[in-house]
Symmetry: C2
């Protein structure tokens, strides 16, 4: 096989992310990841010494991508005329285009509840959203909106339904008055 260590590592991470989104972090196995990435089992243990490290690295990989997205949000919100409507649109798009990220985010949240070593990563993910909002809506409101949006995403995952953008915009607008 053609040599491409970095690419291989990345393929393994992406396979792991896809599996976490599909079946949950608890169902992750070396073999499933290897099969998904199209590499032998030995490859996943070569690049990630333990299953735990593989899972954590995969979540960190997703968190990095999401952090990039959060920076785009910050720009969009900073430039927005109608902040609530913009936020609502961003969330709707996020859930439509990046459902796996959202799934991994909540897998991370729940896993962090009983695995303290994951908490910094979970808190950082959450804080990314707050940071995107803060410049326009004040710190307390930004926190409230962040928490609300996490609830919205969780609700959307459970109900597997698109969010109501108007409802969302009105709720965000209401929370923005907090500061």
């Amino acid at each position: 096989m053609a040599r491409d260590p970095e690419g291989r590592r990345l393929r393994i991470l992406e396979a792991a992310c896809a599996l976490i989104a599909e079946t949950g972090v608890g169902a992750l196995t070396h073999r499933a990841v290897a099969a998904r990435a199209g590499v032998p089992v030995g490859a996943t243990t070569y690049y990630f010494a333990t299953l735990d490290e593989l899972a954590t690295s995969a979540i960190a990989h997703a968190a990095e991508l999401a952090a990039g997205e959060a920076r785009l949000w910050q720009e969009a919100i900073a430039a927005a005329e109608d902040v609530p409507a913009t936020v609502a649109a961003l969330i709707a798009d996020y859930l439509a285009d990046h459902r796996p990220w959202s799934l991994i985010e909540h897998e991370l949240y729940v896993a962090a509840a009983h695995r303290p070593e994951l908490r910094p990563m979970a808190i950082a993910w959450s804080d990314g959203t707050t940071a995107a909002l803060s410049p326009r809506v004040g710190p307390a409101a930004a926190r409230a909106v962040t928490v609300f949006l996490d609830g919205v995403m969780l609700d959307a995952l459970v109900r597997d339904a698109p969010v109501d953008a108007d409802f969302l915009a009105r709720a965000v607008a209401a929370l923005m008055g907090l500061d």
Copy 2:
């Protein structure tokens, strides 16, 4: 051993609930539940044919207890003078006294995202909160507050910190204006 089939079944369910809260539904095993409940492995498979059935039954058991709690909430909110403050107090108490329920609730939400057969239970759990709120705040606001509170609980689990009751009351008050 003294005969008490119903008690035994309940002990197994409670052990399973405790384990789900502690380590997540993905880490549940017949053997761990049996050890926790103080019964042989055969007992858990006797009362619950498959591990899946055991996990689902345990979540359903927790959901039932939570539904009872939701009815108490409804009464408390119906009788409240200051609804936002009451809701904030209820949530704070809930997180302090019933952290396991809250953990199981979110385990359920995330599991429901990739296991459609769990969705009715997850939706019912969420709707319980909405129903407790609806009589006092309109339907849209009740939904918004429910979603917000789920976000708050998730955030509290991740940060392992008590919620700020004042912040919470103000956010709830803001969302109550939605209808």
